[in-house]
C-alpha cells in the first residue's frame, strides 16, 4: 500500500462509537480534562489552611535523603532503623544522593540483611516464621494453580519464583547442616584422640 498524507480510515465513525460506547467523547476537549495541563497553579484548591505546615515532632533520629535541605514537616514513623541492616541503610542515606547507584544498591543490601536478621529472630521468638502460611501457598489448591497456568507464557518465569522463594531457605539449611556436621565431626575427633584417664594403662601406653 502507498504511504500517503492521509490518516488511515477507522473501522467506525465517531457517531457509531458514540452510540456504542457509554460516554464516548465526554472528555473530547483536551483543555477541559482534569490533568489536561500538567501544572495548574491553584493553591486555594487543596484544602490546606497553612502556608507552611507545622513540623511533626521527631521522637527518634529520622534518616533523610541528602537531596532534601531539611527534614520534611511530615514523615512516616513506621519501622525505624535498627541493627546491622539499619546501619547500612543509614549510611546509604547519609553518604549518597539519590542520583548515585550506590545509594539504591546499599538500600537493597539493607533489605536482604534485614530479611536474614528477621529470620534469625523469628527462630527464637514466640511466633517463628511459617514459610507455608506466609507464602500463601494454600492459594495453589484453592485457586486452581495448575489449571490457571495452562498455556501461559509466564510459566517458566514462575518456576524461577520457586528458586527466589525457596532458594535462600534451602541455602541456609545447607550451610547450617554443613556447620553442624563439621562441629560434630570435630568433637568426635577430639573425643577419640583424648585418652580416657579412668582406663588403666596397658603395656606400651605412656602418660
Amino acid at each position: 500500500m502507498p504511504y500517503t498524507k492521509d490518516k488511515p480510515s477507522l473501522p467506525e465513525t465517531s457517531e457509531q462509537l458514540r452510540a456504542r460506547i457509554p460516554g464516548w467523547g465526554a472528555d473530547l476537549d483536551p483543555a477541559d480534562r482534569p490533568s489536561g495541563s500538567r501544572e495548574r497553579f491553584d493553591p486555594g484548591a487543596t484544602g490546606a489552611h497553612w502556608d507552611v505546615p507545622q513540623q511533626q515532632p521527631q521522637r527518634l533520629p529520622r534518616e533523610r535523603s541528602i537531596e532534601h535541605g531539611r527534614l520534611t514537616p511530615v514523615f512516616g514513623t513506621a519501622q525505624p532503623l535498627h541493627g546491622p541492616s539499619g546501619a547500612v541503610r543509614r549510611y546509604a542515606y547519609r553518604r549518597f544522593s539519590e542520583g548515585r547507584l550506590a545509594h539504591w544498591l546499599l538500600l537493597v543490601l539493607g533489605d536482604r540483611m534485614e530479611t536474614a536478621e528477621a529470620r534469625m529472630r523469628s527462630y527464637v521468638s514466640r511466633r517463628p516464621d511459617n514459610p507455608l502460611a506466609e507464602t500463601g501457598l494454600i492459594g495453589e489448591f484453592r485457586s486452581h494453580g495448575l489449571r490457571s497456568r495452562a498455556g501461559r507464557v509466564d510459566r517458566r518465569h514462575q518456576l524461577l519464583d520457586l528458586v527466589v522463594v525457596a532458594g535462600p531457605t534451602l541455602l541456609r539449611i545447607g550451610i547450617v547442616t554443613l556447620l553442624v556436621r563439621r562441629v560434630v565431626r570435630a568433637v568426635v575427633k577430639v573425643a577419640r584422640s583424648t585418652p580416657d584417664p579412668s582406663r588403666p594403662l596397658s603395656r606400651g601406653d605412656s602418660r
Partner: protein, 382 residues
C-alpha cells in the same frame, strides 16, 4: 489491631500492631472498611522496591471511617465515610500549589524523586498502609474526601488509585478524536486506561496482554480490540500491521517493572533485581507507536536504571510522559462519569479476601490464578 505485615520477599502475614496515633495536628486515624491490593503492591511483595522494611504494612487503596482527628483538622469529622487518595500531600508546597499532588515535597524525607504513598516502603516516606484495621492519614484536610452517599465502598476504593491512574494515563497520551490508542497490560489500570481513551474520543483502542481471561475483560469492560502477544511472533510488527504500518498514535504502558515477554529482561529485572524494572512493555510502546506519537507511562518502575530503547524514542520524535497520578485532581470529573453511568469501577473486581487470608490473596494475585483481576481485602473489624 490486625495488620498485614511484610516478612521478606514473597512472605507476608497478619500480626497484631498498635493502633496508629495522631502524630501531627492535621492527622486523622481512619478505621479501614475495605482495602484493595494493587498490581504495584506486587513489586513490594517481590522485594523489588528498595528500603522495604520487615514489618511494613502495605496498602495504598482503602476506604474507611474517620476514627480520630488531630487538633487542626477542619474538613473531616469522626464518623465520616472517606476515600483516601494513594498520594500523601501537604497541599501547600511548590508542587501541590501547581496540582502536582503526587510530587509533594513536604511528606517524603527519604527521597525527592518520588512523593509519599501509603504502605509503599520507606522510599515513599515510611508510612504504614491500609491493609489493616486502622491507618494514619496525614494532612486530613487535604487528601481524603467524604464519599457521596450514592457511591458504594467497592466503587470508591477503585477510585483511590486504579481508576484515576488509568484515566490519568489516557490524559497523558494527549488523545484527540480519532486517535488509535494501544494499551499494554490488561490489569486494572490498563483496563481503566483503555476505557478512558474512549471518553477522550479515541477512534480505536487495542489492548495487549498474554492472559486471555484479562483480554476477555478488555473486550467486555473496555470495548477494546485485543492482541494476545503469545499468539504472534512479533508484537511490534503485528501492531504495525494493524495500523496500516504507521503505528498507533498513542501507546500507554500499564505494565511496569515486572513485564513478561522477554526472558532476559524479565530475569535481570524482576528476578535478579539488576534493573529498576523490566521495560518490555515500555520498549514495545516506543517501537509500536508512530513517529511523532506519544508514550504514556503508568507502569511503576524502581529507581535504578532500566534498559530502555531511548535511541528509538529520540529518532522517532516521541513525547514520553509519565507520573504518579494526582488522584484528587481527577475525582470531580470521575465521580461525574460514574454518576452518569459512563464507568462502573467495581465491574473489574473479581476476588474478595478477608484480611486474615491476605497471604493467600497476594499469592493468588502474584501468580495470576483463578482469573484474578482485582482483589479486595475485607476488614472484619469494620
Amino acid at each position: 489491631m490486625q495488620a498485614m505485615v511484610y516478612r521478606g520477599p514473597y512472605r507476608i502475614r497478619v500480626e497484631e500492631k498498635d493502633v496508629p496515633a495522631i502524630e501531627h495536628p492535621n492527622d486523622a486515624i481512619v478505621r479501614v472498611r475495605l482495602a484493595a491490593i494493587c498490581g504495584s503492591d506486587l513489586h513490594l511483595y517481590h522485594g523489588m522496591m528498595p528500603d522495604t522494611r520487615i514489618g511494613h504494612t502495605f496498602g495504598h487503596e482503602f476506604v474507611g471511617v474517620v476514627h480520630e482527628v488531630g487538633s487542626s483538622v477542619q474538613n473531616l469529622r469522626v464518623g465520616d465515610r472517606v476515600m483516601v487518595p494513594f498520594n500523601i500531600f501537604c497541599g501547600s508546597c511548590f508542587f501541590c500549589a501547581r496540582g502536582l499532588y503526587a510530587n509533594c515535597h513536604n511528606v517524603n524525607p527519604n527521597a525527592t524523586a518520588v512523593g509519599a504513598i501509603y504502605g509503599y516502603s520507606h522510599t515513599t516516606g515510611g508510612y504504614d498502609g491500609g491493609q489493616a484495621e486502622y491507618v494514619r492519614v496525614p494532612f486530613a484536610d487535604v487528601g481524603p474526601s467524604v464519599i457521596p452517599d450514592w457511591l458504594g465502598d467497592e466503587d470508591a476504593v477503585l477510585l483511590t488509585d486504579a481508576g484515576p491512574t488509568g484515566y490519568f494515563g489516557a490524559q497523558l497520551g494527549g488523545i484527540v478524536e480519532g486517535d488509535v490508542v494501544v494499551v499494554f497490560g490488561a490489569g486494572p489500570v490498563g483496563l481503566f486506561a483503555a476505557r478512558s481513551a474512549w471518553l477522550m474520543g479515541a477512534g480505536r483502542v487495542i489492548v495487549v496482554d498474554h492472559l486471555q481471561y484479562r483480554l476477555d475483560l478488555a473486550r467486555s469492560f473496555a470495548f477494546a480490540e485485543t492482541l494476545n502477544f503469545v499468539e504472534v511472533d512479533d508484537v511490534v510488527l503485528e501492531l504495525k500491521r494493524l495500523t496500516d504500518w504507521l503505528g498507533a498514535d498513542v501507546a500507554i504502558d500499564a505494565v511496569g517493572a515486572e513485564a513478561d515477554g522477554n526472558l532476559l529482561q524479565h530475569i535481570t529485572a524482576a528476578k535478579l533485581k539488576l534493573q529498576g524494572g523490566s521495560p518490555i512493555a515500555l520498549n514495545w510502546a516506543i517501537d509500536g507507536v508512530r513517529k511523532g506519537g506519544t508514550v504514556s507511562v503508568l507502569g511503576a518502575y524502581g529507581p535504578t536504571p532500566s534498559l530502555v530503547k531511548f535511541g528509538d524514542a529520540l529518532n522517532k520524535g516521541l513525547t514520553i510522559r509519565g507520573n504518579q497520578c494526582p488522584v484528587k485532581r481527577q475525582w470531580p470529573r470521575l465521580l461525574d462519569h460514574v454518576k452518569n453511568g459512563y464507568l462502573r469501577p467495581s465491574d473489574i473486581v473479581t476476588h474478595r479476601f478477608p484480611l486474615e487470608h491476605i497471604a493467600e490473596a497476594y499469592h493468588t494475585f502474584s501468580a495470576k490464578l483463578d482469573g484474578i483481576v482485582k482483589p479486595l481485602v475485607t476488614v472484619s473489624g469494620a
